[in-house]
Symmetry: C2
Subunit: 207 residues, 2 copies
């Protein structure tokens, strides 16, 4: 236990720095290649470590990936958590959409890591989807449904409203290559998307 960084909190600065390096390199490689497409060689090289040294910090490839996903789930749902039942309905929905789009812009690698995992059937994160995620979405969908019943928003299925926000915002991170290929040079996809999504939801949600 004493000298095992993988099962205990790191205590030296070098350990902390190296573990962060590994996780950052792993995020880069896993998000671009998927779990099986990624190799420890790539991660080790990007992290500036030898492969055995990398495996000193984490017991296995699977463990690195698991750590990344666990860390991600922590922050990934923050924008939705912040949706305030006491706020103004339109502001809250538009604010949620903007926070989600900003997260896609700032964390495209995390978005792609997540997308890879879901695309492949969520073999590692499935339980969290049916548990933590479902609970949070059900709760917030209830809030939105209340707003709609009170006539403060146009009525529609709140779950699918949330899905639509996920789809639209994550698309710009996950399909970035395609978006840029079609637009050509001289564009700022995220800024342009922000404008369109604002208009779209404002009109759609107005009673």
């Amino acid at each position: 236990m004493e000298g095992d960084p993988a099962t205990a909190a790191p205590r030296t600065r070098i350990q902390q720095r190296n573990m962060r390096r590994v996780l950052d390199a792993a995020l880069e490689v896993f998000s671009a290649q998927g779990f099986r497409g990624a190799t420890l060689d790539q991660i080790a090289e990007l992290a500036g470590l030898s492969k055995p040294n990398l495996l000193y910090y984490f017991p296995s490839k699977e463990a690195i990936h698991h750590q990344l996903l666990a860390d991600l789930m922590d922050t990934w749902l923050d924008p939705l958590r912040e949706l305030d039942p006491a706020g103004d309905p339109m502001d809250e929905i538009l604010g949620y959409m903007r926070r989600k789009l900003e997260m896609s812009r700032a964390m495209p690698r995390e978005s792609r890591l997540f997308a890879n995992e879901i695309l492949q059937g969520a073999p590692r994160i499935g339980p969290a989807l049916e548990g933590e995620l479902k609970r949070l979405v059900d709760e917030k969908a209830g809030v939105i449904a209340g707003w709609m019943e009170a006539g403060r928003l146009a009525p529609m299925d709140p779950h699918h409203l949330i899905f639509s926000i996920w789809a639209l915002t994550q698309h710009y991170a996950d399909f970035d290559v395609q978006v840029r290929a079609v637009l050509g040079p001289g564009h700022d996809p995220f800024a342009e998307a922000g404008g369109l999504l604002d208009t779209l939801y404002r009109k759609a949600l107005t009673t």
Copy 2:
């Protein structure tokens, strides 16, 4: 050349049947595991062939994948091609959205194959995105822009309008696992999505 199914059109029924089996099995495996995650063993087993026999029909793993993507690009853009400049603007946009959603419902494996490719930076399909795809999108975006300038649709960026339709419709194929995990049993995600998307775009595009 005579007996090489990979470079010539197959001429026997057995060859045709086996090549179709291989491509169908490969679609299943590639779409679920990504290119590197897929193995020839899996594909061969699913196709009911031995691995060497599989490699008699296609020269390499890469060749199978390439064939799938090439076939897919052919049909993937059909819904957009059908958008008719002479039609009613609202009907045309909503019709396009519905055809795209129906394609996601009927061809989820193809959608995920495509998503995997884009997520990983479109290493094999990149040129087609900047060429064929961009040309078609630019053309149809021009049509839509004309409708908006004529006051027949609410004004918005037509490229991003098209992206939004891609994002929303493909989401239900690519993130199917997540959607179903959150909704729980007893739902028909595609039918429910159809209703919401219809309302969403109808309101957003009305002047």
